[in-house]
């Protein structure tokens, strides 16, 4: 039993922190009228690729770093803390999907390029309502001479714009079941549009497939999708926990400096106790994410439970703490020129992506009951 991070983890976290503190500048987003176009997505991605993080979870046998979920938590935490705009998360999710769902041939063909930063992956599995369960038929796959023809749409696809390969799920007309397919985004029969997403630090995309060709991935078991989903939940939770900690730190600092009626506002109990509540949430979110990271790394039996708990708790904590942050900053925290709203929007967006907290809590009850049985 040892809940402390190893030296390696701390070193990775530290180097990510130093790198991101230096490279990530959000000022352009804080100018009135800014959109995600000002987020320097491409520039940041190039620098991240230079760090080798494009292949962070790609096994060494395919040329990647082959790091574990605990390592990923270190890097993703720092990205979440700095809101680093880049397709890191989308590529990571796509990589997990190909790793688990792809055939050996497909992995050998694509993962080395991903690891080298010359190709980018993304996953597109949401229907128009954002549901990622397997009953969505808004995208259908029919076998043809050229392979499967995909017709329909997917939405809320993180970092699909600019990706070289998309992995989509579709209703396979042949089997009557869900299947996963690999799509080359160079296809003319595919359009990807960046949604008018409130979280300006992230590109979330609509994907339309007008009969483009999809390559079937390996046959799917429910456990395969659960494996990918748990990692996505963990990744979003890791961003949330780190963002919660960051907004707490920013707000506590402000409360020490801002004076009202001759005293720092942090000396008033209403402010002080709200910050204590935020701290409690930040601590819990942090331990939830580390536990999920460890359980996923170990492929432990409680991995799904830990991932669901982490997403549900950390997302709610992030939403609550970013709201409190604005209340403590006061009116200035409500303006576009301050960073508070970027965190608030990231919090709300992460809370909604891949199932909201209530949905995951419902799963937690089921998973806990299974574990107890």
């Amino acid at each position: 039993m040892n809940f402390l991070l190893d030296e390696d983890h701390l070193a990775l976290k530290q180097s990510a922190a130093v790198f991101l503190d230096k490279e990530i500048v959000l000022d352009a987003l804080l100018k009135p009228g800014a959109s995600v176009d000002q987020a320097n997505y491409r520039g940041n991605w190039e620098k991240i690729a230079a760090m080798g993080w494009t292949g962070i979870t790609v096994p060494e046998s395919y040329g990647g770093l082959g790091l574990s979920c605990v390592d990923v938590a270190m890097v993703l935490g720092e990205m979440g803390r700095t809101l680093a705009p880049s397709p890191f998360l989308g590529n990571l999710i796509g990589t997990w999907a190909l790793l688990r769902l792809g055939t050996e041939e497909q992995k050998q063909r694509i993962l080395p390029a991903v690891a080298a930063g010359t190709a980018r992956l993304a996953l597109a599995v949401g229907d128009a309502a954002g549901d990622v369960a397997d009953h969505s038929r808004e995208l259908g796959a029919e076998r043809s001479a050229q392979g499967f023809l995909l017709k329909g749409a997917r939405a809320f696809a993180i970092d699909a714009a600019g990706a070289d390969w998309l992995i989509v799920d579709a209703h396979n007309a042949e089997t009557g079941r869900r299947g996963f397919f690999l799509v080359d985004t160079k296809s003319d029969d595919l359009t990807v549009d960046i949604m008018n997403w409130r979280d300006l630090t992230r590109q979330v995309c609509d994907v339309r497939l007008n009969g483009c060709v999809g390559e079937e991935l390996a046959p799917l078991t429910p456990a395969d999708w659960a494996w990918v989903r748990d990692r996505i939940l963990f990744a979003l939770a890791a961003e949330c926990a780190a963002g919660t900690q960051q907004i707490l730190s920013m707000t506590a600092e402000y409360a020490k400096e801002r004076v009202a009626f001759g005293k720092p506002i942090g000396s008033y109990q209403a402010i002080k106790h709200s910050l204590a509540d935020m701290l409690g949430q930040a601590e819990c979110a942090n331990v939830a994410v580390l536990y999920a990271a460890w359980a996923l790394s170990e492929e432990a039996p409680q991995a799904s439970l830990a991932a669901a708990m982490a997403k549900a708790f950390a997302a709610d904590a992030y939403v609550d703490c970013t709201h409190r942050s604005i209340q403590i900053f006061g009116a200035i925290g409500f303006t576009w020129e301050m960073k508070n709203h970027l965190y608030l929007k990231r919090a709300h967006a992460n809370a909604e992506l891949f199932g909201n907290s209530r949905a995951h809590r419902s799963r937690v009850i089921d998973l806990a009951q299974q574990a107890a049985a």
Partner: protein, 398 residues
């Protein structure tokens, strides 16, 4: 005791309806001259309307599609005109009152400052006497309507050696004066709402624009804020405007969400709160009818209404799922009403909603006020209240 609102066939309605039918698109001046802008004032400005008649006038104007003057020129009509009447000189009444009530001159209130926050009286803008003028220097913020206003009610420090509350004075400043720069504040939704920063660089204000006496600024300003608090506590989510709890329940019903027990229970809590807030608002009106002093009751209602409003729009946002994160996406079919004005947009109202517990007194300050004035709890100690203002500043920068 009788909870009935004035009936459809109330004879008092006939008079109002007749006037409105004779003036189908009344100008601001027509409304003001008819006494319908401030109906509760005595003649010649108002019609000495008791609260029920006020309620009737509001309702009939709404039905006739007449934009109420207190929404067009809220700072003047709701807050400042009464102050002008009480504290102004005859010449000031003559010059300012009718253009204000007629909405020919829009007013704004230059009070809050960036460094001030809840400690409003610590404001730093100074007005230095220079012959028959005052020279004003400083910066104001969160000024509603400054971009449209001709007249700004300025609170500035005329005596820096006095304690912070005592050194303030009020002025009727021409917003078109040289040295006045207005810059919109962009809120977190990305919208230019109605708030502004106002920079005051050696603005020369004629001495006859002083409202009341030198040193009365704090009293004048706070009496205005108290009026504002009452005005802001209606059942709409955003300071009385925008969607109400009833709109929420209708929306959830239409969109099928009420069959979800968790949503249903949450929605019912919000609905009940909304109804009780509506009753409290009517009770305040009723108290006025019975000439009961209003006391801190407006603060209680704002304390309750602000988080209530946040719950309304948060719940609507929540049922949208991830689609709610798409800018401009609405939670309910468009037939679900949510009032008028910019807050009728559910999505905008949600992103604006963090402000309702900040504006016009933070929730913390309101709770202090409620507990101190209603329950008689000890007042929050302000160690800077009695210091000369210059010494406070020295202490801070030390």
């Amino acid at each position: 005791m009788d909870f009935r609102l004035p009936a459809e066939n109330d004879p008092r309605r006939a008079v109002v309806r007749k006037w409105l039918s004779e003036h189908p698109k009344p100008s601001g001046r027509q409304l003001a001259e008819a006494g319908y802008t401030v109906p509760h004032w005595p003649k010649p400005w108002g019609v000495a309307a008791e609260p029920e008649l006020q309620f009737i006038i509001d309702e009939e104007m709404g039905r006739a599609g007449v934009m109420p003057p207190n929404l067009i020129n809220p700072v003047a009509v709701n807050n400042c005109a009464q102050t002008l009447l009480s504290h102004g000189t005859d010449a000031q009444h003559e010059r300012f009152l009718m253009p204000a009530l007629a909405c020919e001159e829009i007013w704004c209130m230059l009070f809050s400052e960036p460094a001030g926050g809840s400690d409003l009286a610590a404001l730093r803008t100074t007005a230095r006497r220079d012959g028959d003028h005052y020279v004003v220097k400083g910066q104001k913020t969160w000024t509603s309507l400054a971009h449209k206003a001709q007249i700004g009610v300025l609170i500035a420090r005329t005596d820096t050696a006095a304690p912070k509350h005592a050194g303030l004075s009020a002025f009727l400043m021409d917003m078109k004066s040289p040295g006045v720069t207005v810059r919109p504040i962009i809120d977190l939704s990305g919208c230019k709402n109605e708030y502004n920063e106002v920079f005051l660089d050696d603005v020369r204000v004629p001495a006859d624009r002083l409202l009341g006496k030198e040193g009365e600024g704090w009293r004048i300003a706070t009496s205005q804020l108290q009026t504002e608090r009452v005005a802001l506590s209606k059942p709409g989510a955003i300071w009385g405007a925008g969607p109400s709890a009833r709109d929420l329940v209708n929306g959830l019903a239409v969109s099928g969400h009420l069959s979800d027990p968790v949503v249903r229970d949450e929605a019912a809590k919000i609905f009940i709160e909304g109804e009780l807030l509506r009753l409290l608002a009517y009770r305040a009106l009723s108290d006025r009818m019975n000439a009961k002093p209003s006391g801190p009751e407006g603060a209680i209602r704002k304390m309750l209404a602000a988080p209530h409003g946040q719950h309304i729009v948060e719940m609507a946002k929540k049922v949208q799922g991830p689609r709610g994160m798409i800018a401009g996406e609405q939670p309910f079919p468009s037939q679900v009403g949510s009032g008028k004005g910019m807050f009728a947009d559910w999505d905008y109202a949600f992103w604006f909603s963090p402000a309702v517990t900040l504006g016009v007194g933070t929730q913390e300050i309101l709770k202090n006020i409620v507990a101190e004035r209603t329950l008689g709890l000890p007042r929050e100690n302000d160690p800077t209240a009695k210091l000369p203002w210059t010494e406070i500043n020295r202490a801070k920068s030390a």
